[in-house]
């Protein structure tokens, strides 16, 4: 375990994981007891204008938590208040980026923070209807967020004349039906329109023509959950957490070869190494860390050296050569076969490509086929160039960033671990032991046929 190089001075504040999780801590009553909906009351009853809400969020420097880290206030500010059009806010709860499960935690444990944030955001942009697009597979998170919406309606926090004010808002929780690409904002809106999730080209931007061709803001769950925090504390106080360029906290879901996977809340500026080696208990099996996927498979891999002395904030991650992305961190132990890992990743992208545009539709399948062939022991020396070619030809040429991401994921692994690919191609087998798991609960387990089932030759 490597000791962290520097210990940044941090406030130690948590905004989401700041209470004990109990069987009722997600309910309206418990949330209100913790001060919930006071921000909303302050805004609606205190005569705070929508433009002021936008200003506060902008001053606070809130960056999007869905992966792109776009300033939330700036996105809201594009909507013209007097254009006579309906405006919509859509909460992106389609969490599908592999490695990411922090929105799930927020939906299950603090759904009312997300709802309050959604109401405040809708108020800020003059919306009368808002949507929560939640991935179709989510079960408990759906019940929790739908329950929160129902509680809010019952308590006069949603519907007509919220808290006795002039502001009315209806919220629909819309369940998806199984598609990663529907996490992309324009595909999400197509899905919300009851259609297949094909992303759209820009222009026009969604803030100009979005849901049903009306101005629409799409924000991640965590981004919206930050809004009541900012309006309670005030922008200035909010900025006392995190770093000047990345204020606030980041929910990180970590998985892979760490001893204590799960959801954590870290203040921006926290030491990356401290997080991995102390908070998450270091790497399984006493192994060293080989590399990290920082924020979902769509971010570039960083090896153990590259995170030395790096803090968990957007600028530091970019300077290190990657991004914090969606907060879906995956730790990979020494000895893991990166060729097999790359194949799993490209199998995913191939499965999820919507099929609309040429480079991604054809390229994803091509990449999977090449990697399948290498893993089968039939790789050719020019396959590495082939993979680079496909990746680069998807960079900046596609309708949405699924193609780009697949390319970055692949080239980052190739850049770091080219020798593993060369070995596999030359020798027809992995340079490592070929296993992807370090601690495999099913290692050595012998399946006996369930009574009544014929035995299978596996």
């Amino acid at each position: 375990m490597t000791a962290p190089v520097t210990e940044p001075v941090l406030s130690g504040r948590k905004f989401f994981m700041n209470h004990e999780v109990t069987p009722t801590s997600h309910t309206l009553a418990d949330y209100q007891a913790r001060g919930g909906y006071q921000a909303l009351a302050k805004v609606l009853k205190g005569g705070v204008a929508p433009a002021d809400v936008i200003k506060e969020v902008s001053t606070a420097g809130l960056l999007g938590h869905g992966g792109a880290a776009f300033p939330a206030g700036r996105k809201w500010g594009v909507i013209r208040p007097d254009d006579g059009e309906p405006h919509y806010v859509c909460m992106n709860a389609d969490e599908g980026e592999p490695g990411t499960f922090k929105d799930r935690w927020l939906l299950e444990q603090v759904p009312h923070m997300a709802v309050e944030g959604l109401i405040l955001a809708s108020y800020a942009i003059g919306g009368r209807h808002a949507f929560i697009y939640i991935r179709g597979e989510f079960d408990l998170p759906f019940h929790r967020i739908q329950g929160a919406v129902d509680e809010a309606y019952a308590a006069g926090l949603l519907g007509k004349n919220i808290l006795g004010s002039d502001y009315s808002l209806d919220v629909v929780v819309y369940r998806g039906a199984g598609s990663y690409v529907c996490g992309e904002a324009s595909a999400m809106l197509a899905s919300l329109e009851g259609k297949k999730g094909w992303p759209r080209n820009r222009p026009p931007r969604l803030t100009v023509k979005g849901l049903y061709q009306k101005p629409t803001v799409v924000n991640n769950v965590e981004t919206l959950a930050n809004v009541p925090v900012i309006l309670s504390l005030g922008a200035e106080e909010f900025r006392k957490t995190g770093t000047p360029k990345s204020p606030g906290t980041q929910m990180i879901s970590i998985s892979g070869h760490v001893n204590r996977p799960g959801v954590y809340e870290v203040e921006y500026g926290y030491s990356w190494e401290k997080f991995i080696y102390e908070d998450c208990g270091g790497i399984q099996g006493g192994r060293g860390l080989k590399c990290i996927i920082p924020g979902g498979v769509s971010t570039k891999i960083l090896d153990a050296d590259q995170i030395k002395g790096v803090t968990l904030d957007h600028n530091a991650a970019v300077a290190a050569g990657s991004q914090l992305g969606s907060g879906g961190m995956i730790a990979i132990a020494e000895g893991t076969c990166m060729v097999r890992l790359a194949r799993v990743i490209q199998r995913f992208y191939h499965h999820e490509s919507c099929g609309q545009c040429t480079p991604c539709r054809e390229g994803m399948g091509w990449m999977e086929r090449v990697l399948d062939r290498i893993v089968r022991g039939e790789g050719r020396p020019d396959d590495i160039d082939r993979l680079y070619h496909i990746s680069n030809a998807n960079d900046g040429t596609t309708i949405c960033s699924l193609g780009d991401s697949a390319g970055y994921a692949c080239t980052a692994i190739l850049d770091h671990y080219r020798e593993e690919f060369e070995y596999f191609i030359k020798n027809g087998r992995s340079m490592m032991d070929g296993q992807l798991a370090v601690e495999d609960p099913f290692a050595g387990a012998v399946p006996t046929p369930l009574r009544g089932m014929a035995g299978a030759a596996v």
Binding site: G355, T358, P359, G363
Partner: protein, 508 residues
């Protein structure tokens, strides 16, 4: 919905009253406000390669072959698709830079990745945009050594159209056509990723879409092909002659395809050398845009009906000149002639008729324009797009000169001793007994033998001329074939019938 309302190669409205100055490859160009780079380039005569873009459909931006480079004063140039790129003032677009060429090569690599490249057995060969772009923008072998995806090779999309899913590049032109133009909503893009397939809607019968065959034209590859014409002739053995569809008064501009004379078949049935191979739209913004209906596709069923090839006098075959002389005799000596004028006659033929009978029109000769064809059962009568209820190509011009024949023909024909029937649509039963009947027509009908004189005529494909459509637009058609038998051209016939030209042997 009017043609104007429909999206025209853009997802935004274009304002032709405002112009924007920009450049393409250093050449100054002007765009209308709202136009995309590809639209402005096309109007300037520069074609940026494209598969999915079509100037009469919405912009999907999925093929990515129209990527262009935009230079900036500060910073690196940026790249994006030209079909969805609004032109801005002073924009500097490059379409032939090294990077753009590389992007095109890469796109072509992807497009042909799973494409079967079975040009040897594909009907589209020779007029295939994929072929053309491969040679122009790539020209190299595939970089892949892995198996191609396989899909359905012959999917019957309808009775008329076959779909080869392996050749399909998912440009979605066909799908968009059925939603935006024909409005049959008959096609869909189902499944996901590289398993995506074009399929018909499971309730709609693509057979019911009167414009279905347009998807064959707009398909940039050989995925959508006419089942009727499958494997008939390589496109380079045929030529297109511009013509006008006579199926209704819209008068859509068409191309009639037939074998080039230098590629005449010697060993097979010579009839194949003067056959209509297919009919496609001839783009005409003033009349039909780039579309035609399926009736136009099936013009062979009209033009290749059994022809009248033999002049007759009361059913007895005679020489053509003799028939003309006998008919002229009847016409010139009649007390009263009623002529039923064909609405399939060209402007020139109608003019010749009017000129020939001018001295006697209104007096001894009465002429009525008639509708040779009426809507048949099962045929679309009129719709929102092209099809008009008047199923004749030139009734407009005919009724401009002559009154429309009344529904009760008997009243119109009363008192006539000679009835001159030019063209189709007059049943023998509607002609009064005891009257001398002269029929002039191109097609073999049973009643031809009952006429006192029957003169076979040439048909539209055997001569040139013009039609006037329902809006007054005049469009030309050209001859495709030479008549096979001795038939008369109506325009030359009328002066001889009327006596304004002396019969054979005498000076004019």
């Amino acid at each position: 919905m009017s043609q104007a309302d429909r999206k025209r190669g853009n997802n935004e409205p274009v304002d032709t009253s405002k112009t924007i100055a920009f450049s393409i490859n250093g050449v100054p160009c002007t765009a209308y406000k709202g136009e995309s780079v590809i639209q402005a380039a096309q109007r300037a005569g520069m074609d940026i390669p494209h598969f999915c873009w079509h100037h009469d459909l919405s912009v999907p931006g999925n093929c990515r072959i129209c990527m262009v480079e935009v230079e900036q004063d500060k910073g690196d140039p940026w790249f994006d698709i030209g079909c969805n790129m609004p032109v801005t003032e002073g924009m500097r677009v490059l379409t032939e830079s090294d990077t753009v060429k590389k992007l095109r090569r890469e796109t072509m690599q992807f497009i042909t990745l799973n494409h079967p490249v079975d040009c040897g057995i594909c009907n589209k060969a020779g007029e295939c945009i994929l072929q053309d772009y491969h040679y122009e923008h790539n020209g190299k072998a595939s970089m892949s050594i892995d198996r191609k995806n396989h899909a359905t090779k012959f999917f019957p999309l309808s009775d008329r159209i076959m779909l080869d899913n392996e050749r399909c590049i998912m440009c979605t032109r066909c799908v968009r056509f059925t939603h935006e133009v024909s409005e049959s909503h008959a096609l869909a893009a189902v499944y996901r990723g590289d398993h995506s397939l074009i399929r018909p809607a499971e309730d709609a019968n693509f057979n019911d879409d009167a414009y279905s065959d347009n998807v064959i034209d707009i398909c940039p590859v050989g995925a959508l092909l006419s089942r009727e014409n499958l494997d008939h002739a390589r496109v380079w053995y045929t030529k297109a002659t511009p013509s006008v569809c006579p199926g209704c008064s819209r008068g859509c501009s068409i191309d009639i395809w037939h074998r080039k004379p230098e590629w005449a078949l010697k060993a097979l049935d010579p009839q194949l050398n003067s056959r209509i191979e297919r009919v496609t739209p001839h783009e005409n913004p003033a009349v039909n845009g780039p579309w035609i209906c399926n009736k136009a596709r099936d013009l062979a069923t009209i033009f290749e009906r059994p022809r009248a090839t033999q002049a007759m006098v009361q059913g007895t075959p005679v020489e053509l000149d003799e028939a003309i002389a006998r008919a002229a005799g009847f016409v010139q000596n009649a007390r009263r002639v009623v002529a039923l004028v064909s609405s399939w006659g060209s402007n020139e033929e109608l003019e010749a008729f009017a000129a020939a009978f001018a001295p006697r029109l209104g007096g001894a000769v009465t002429a009525y324009a008639k509708a040779d064809h009426v809507p048949q059962s099962g045929e679309v009568v009129e719709d929102h797009l092209l099809i008009k209820a008047d199923k004749n190509p030139n009734l407009t011009a005919a009724t401009a000169r002559f009154p429309l024949a009344p529904a009760d023909l008997a009243a119109a024909l009363a008192g006539a001793d000679v009835v001159l029937v030019w063209g189709e649509g007059v049943a023998q039963a509607s002609l009064p007994a005891g009257v001398t009947v002269i029929r002039l027509d191109g097609y073999a009908q049973e009643h031809n033998a009952s006429a006192h004189v029957f003169i076979p005529l040439s048909i539209q494909t055997e001569r040139s001329g013009h039609y006037t459509n329902f809006e007054g637009t005049v469009t030309p058609f050209e001859a495709c074939f030479a008549p096979k038998a001795p038939v008369a051209h109506a325009a030359e016939l009328f002066p001889r019938l009327a006596g304004t030209v002396q019969l054979a042997g005498a000076g004019a």
